[in-house]
Amino acid sequence: MTRSGFLGAVIVGGLVLVAILAPWLAPYPSHAGAFVDVDLAYHPPNADHLLGTDGVGRDLLSRLLFAYRTSFLLACVVLLLAVPIGVTTGLAAGYLGGWLETVILRTTDIFLAVPSLVLAMAILGLFDPSLTMAMVAVSFAWWPWYTRLVYNVTRSIRTEGYVEAAETAGAGPLRTMFGEILPNARGPILTKMTLDAGFVILMGAGLSFLGLGAEPPTPDLGTMVAAGTPLLPDVWWPTVFSSLGIVIAVLGFNLLGDGIRDLFGADESC
Amino acid sequence: MLNVAGLEVVIRRRGTTARVVRGLDLSVGAGQRVALVGESGSGKSMTARAIMGLLPPTASATGHVRFDGTDLFEAGWAGLRGSRMTMVFQDPMSALNPVFRVEDQLRAIARSRERSRLAALLESVAIRDPERVLRSYPFQLSGGMAQRVLLAAALVNEPELIVADEPATALDAEIQQLSLELLARRARDEGTAVLLITHHLGLVRAFAEQVYVMREGEIVERGPTRQILRAPSHEYTRSLLASVPRLSGAADG
C-alpha cells in the first residue's frame, strides 16, 4: 500500500480505537452527557482541560472522543443500509436490463438531481431530528450512488468470457450476479465505501451544524462546531478543535480509500 | 542506415530489474527489408522502442544505436525522430487521437502542410477518397482505413528508416499484407530502410530479405530469410517453424 494509504489506515484505525475506548480514554467521561458546571464554562485550553471547556463547563477533549462514536455509528449504519440496496439494484439494472434497468436508472437520476444534503434535510425537517432519523435520512439519499457504481461495473463485466461461460454452464441469474460479477466489483465498492465513510461523517456534521442531527446532549462534531461559531473569534477553541476533529477523520478515510483504490487498481470514478 | 550494436535494455519494477534485451546486434541498410521475429516477451518491442528513443520511464538502454553514423544514445533523436526515422504503431485505433480530425493530426507532424500533398499521400497508401478521410475523426474510419492513415503518417516526411512494430496485428490478414506491400514498395522505390517487428513467420517470409530470430532478449539466429525458413540451424527456430499452422501436410505440426 502507498505511504499515504498507510497513513490513512493508521488514522482510521486510531480513531476507531478512540471511539471504542472513549469511556476509558476520556479524562471526564461524565462530561459526555448532560453535565453542567457553570464555573467551568469557556475555559481556554489548560493543564486540566487540554482542549478547554464549552459553554456549560464540559471538557471538550472528552466530548470530542465520545463524538467519534456518534460519527462512526452514523457512517456504519448508513453504509449498511445504502450499500446492499445500491448493490442489489445496480446488479439487477446492469445484468438483467430491460424495463427494470430503465426504472432503476431513471429513479437514481431523480435522486441524484437533488443534493443528498438537501434530501436528508428535508426528511429530517419533516420528522423530529434525532440520530436514528439522521441515519435513515442519509441512507435514503445515499444508495443511488452505489446503484450507479455497481451498474457501471456490471455493464463492463457482463460480456467478459467467464460470465458468458458461467451462463453457458447453466448458472442462473442470481448465481451469475452475486457469484460471478459481484466478487469482481469488490475493489470499486470497497474503495467507495471507505471514501464514503468519511463523506457520511462530513454530511452528518453538516446536518447537525444546521441543528438537524443528533439531539443534545449527545456529543456530536457538527453540533460542537455550530455551538462554538457565534463566540468566534474570542472563544475559538470549541470551533477549532471540533473542526479539526472532523477534518482528521474525513482525511483518514480519504487517504485510506485512495490507498485501497491503488491496491485494487480501480480507477478514479468511484 | 541503422546499426545497433551491443544493445542492452533493463526494466526496473518494484526493486527488481529484468534484462529484456541482451547484447543485441542488428543492422538495416538503405532499401533493405529486415524482420525481427520473436514470441511475446522476447524483447522485440523493447528493441524497437530503444531504437526510436521511446522507452518507458522504467526502462533504460545501453550500447549503441547508430543512425546514418550518428550514435543516438549520445546525440539524441532531435531532428531525426518523426522526420528521418519514423514508426508504424501496432494498433491504429489507439494510436490516433480520438478527438482530432485526421487532417489536423497529419498536419501536426508533417513538414509540408499543403492539403493537396496530404491528399496525394493518402492516395499513395491506397485510400480512394482522401478528402473524406482527411475530414474524418479516427472513430469514423474502419480499422483498415486507420491503419493506412498510420502508414501515411509514417511516410509523410519521407523518412530514411521506418520501424514497423507488429503493424495491423489486430486486423484482418488482408490489411496486414497490404501494409507490408506498401512498405516494401517504399523500400524498393525510395530506398527506405524498413525494420519489421513481428511474431508471424509467414509475414517474415512475405516481406523480409533478412531475418533476426529473437528469444528471451537474445538473437538466436540471423540470416537471409529464405535460408532460415528452409534450413533453420537453431533448435528454437525449428520448433517455431514446426508450430506454424500449415495449409497442407500433416495436421499435427
Binding site: V114, T229 | L54
Partner: protein, 338 residues
C-alpha cells in the same frame, strides 16, 4: 445530434417531474398530517382543520398532486407558512443571490480545478504535484461550513480584508434589478463602486463554497491527465516530434477533460447542497438559506419550491455542460443513435 437534444430535453423534464413527485410524497404523504406538522402540537383542532382545508389536504393525494403540479407550472407554489408571502415572490427575491453565488463558485471550480489538475498531472511526482494534491485532498475533506467559518475568522475578523455578511454594504442601495445578480446589474447600471462592493462580498462565500468541488475536479483532472499520458496516441505524437507544449495543451488536455465534464453536473448538485451551509454562515440572503429556514419551520410549500427550483437550475446547467461535452468530444457528436 437532434435525437440527442430531444432525448436530453425529455430527460430533463422527466427529472424535474420525478423530483416533484418525490418531494411531494415526502412532504405531503409521509408525515401523515402536514397541517398538524406545520402548526405544531400547540395548535387547536380548529386551527389544524382550517389549514387542512386551505391546503386542500382532504382530497385524494393524486388530486392534490395534480393541483399542485398545475399551479406550479403557472409559477404558483402557494403561500409560505414561514414568511406569510407567496412562495413565488420569496423565490424571486432569493434565487438571484444563490445563482450569483453558485455561478461564481462554479467559475472557481472550473478554472482553478482544471488548472491545478493539469499542472499536477503534467509535473507528476514533483513538489508542485505533491503540494497541489495535498491541497486538493484537504479541500475535499474539510466540511464546507468549516471553510466558511475559517474564512470568516481569518479574512473577516483578523485581517479585515473582506466583509463577512450579506451581498452589499448597508450604506449602498441595491442596483436596479435586471438579472438580479448584483455584480452584473451594477455593471449594467454603470455603478462601478456597487459592482466592486458586491464582488467584494461575494469572494469569501463563493470560494468557501467552491473548495470541495474544486479539490475533486483537480483530482479527477490529474488522474485523467495521467491516464491520457499513457495512451498510445500521446506516444504517437512524441514519436513524430510534436512539440511538448502542444502535446500537453492540445493532444492531452482535450481528451482528458471529458471525464471532468461528465462529473461536473454531479459536482454542481453537491455544490448546491453545500450552499445551504455557506449561505447560513455568511447570512447570504439566497434561496438556500430560505430553504434551510423553510425546512426548520416545517414550511412544506417553501421547501418543495426550493427543491424544485434548484432541480431546474441543475437541469439547465447540465444542458450547458452537455453542449460543451458535445463540442469537446466529437465521438458524441457523430455517434449514430443505436
Amino acid at each position: 445530434m437532434i435525437n440527442r437534444l430531444v432525448r436530453r430535453v425529455i430527460g430533463g423534464v422527466f427529472v424535474v417531474a420525478g423530483v416533484s413527485v418525490l418531494i411531494f410524497v415526502l412532504a405531503r404523504v409521509v408525515p401523515g398530517d402536514p397541517a398538524r406538522l406545520a402548526l405544531g402540537p400547540a395548535a387547536s383542532p380548529e386551527q389544524v382543520e382550517a389549514l387542512r382545508e386551505r391546503l386542500g389536504l382532504d382530497e385524494p393525494v393524486t388530486v392534490q398532486y395534480a393541483r399542485y403540479a398545475r399551479q406550479a407550472l403557472t409559477g404558483d407554489f402557494g403561500i409560505s407558512l414561514y414568511t406569510g408571502r407567496a412562495v413565488s415572490a420569496d423565490i424571486r427575491n432569493t434565487f438571484p443571490a444563490t445563482l450569483e453565488l453558485v455561478l461564481f463558485a462554479m467559475v472557481f471550480v472550473g478554472g482553478c480545478g482544471v488548472l491545478f489538475g493539469v499542472a499536477s498531472g503534467m509535473r507528476r511526482n514533483t513538489w508542485l504535484d505533491h503540494g497541489l494534491r495535498l491541497l486538493s485532498v484537504i479541500a475535499v475533506t474539510t466540511p464546507t461550513f468549516v471553510w466558511a467559518v475559517a474564512f470568516m475568522l481569518v479574512f473577516g475578523f483578523w485581517l479585515e480584508l473582506f466583509p463577512i455578511a450579506g451581498r452589499l454594504s448597508e450604506w449602498l442601495l441595491p442596483p436596479e434589478r435586471v438579472t438580479g445578480l448584483y455584480v452584473t446589474d451594477a455593471l449594467l447600471a454603470g455603478q462601478w463602486r456597487h459592482a466592486a462592493d458586491a464582488l467584494h462580498h461575494l469572494v469569501l462565500p463563493a470560494v468557501a463554497l467552491s473548495l470541495p468541488a474544486l479539490g475533486q475536479t483537480a483530482r479527477i483532472m490529474r488522474a485523467s491527465m495521467v491516464d491520457v499520458a499513457a495512451r498510445p496516441y500521446i506516444e504517437f505524437a512524441r514519436a513524430y516530434a510534436v512539440p511538448e507544449g502542444r502535446v500537453a495543451f492540445q493532444y492531452a488536455l482535450r481528451p482528458a477533460s471529458i471525464p471532468v465534464l461528465t462529473i461536473l453536473g454531479l459536482e454542481l448538485v453537491a455544490l448546491m447542497g453545500n450552499a445551504f451551509l455557506v449561505e447560513k454562515v455568511f447570512a447570504w440572503p439566497g434561496l438556500a438559506r430560505y430553504g434551510v429556514d423553510t425546512i426548520l419551520y416545517k414550511d412544506l410549500n417553501g421547501m418543495m419550491a426550493t427543491v424544485l427550483v434548484m432541480t431546474l437550475l441543475f437541469v439547465a446547467v447540465n444542458a450547458v455542460v452537455d453542449a460543451v461535452t458535445v463540442f469537446v468530444d466529437p465521438r458524441i457528436r457523430y455517434r449514430r443513435d443505436s
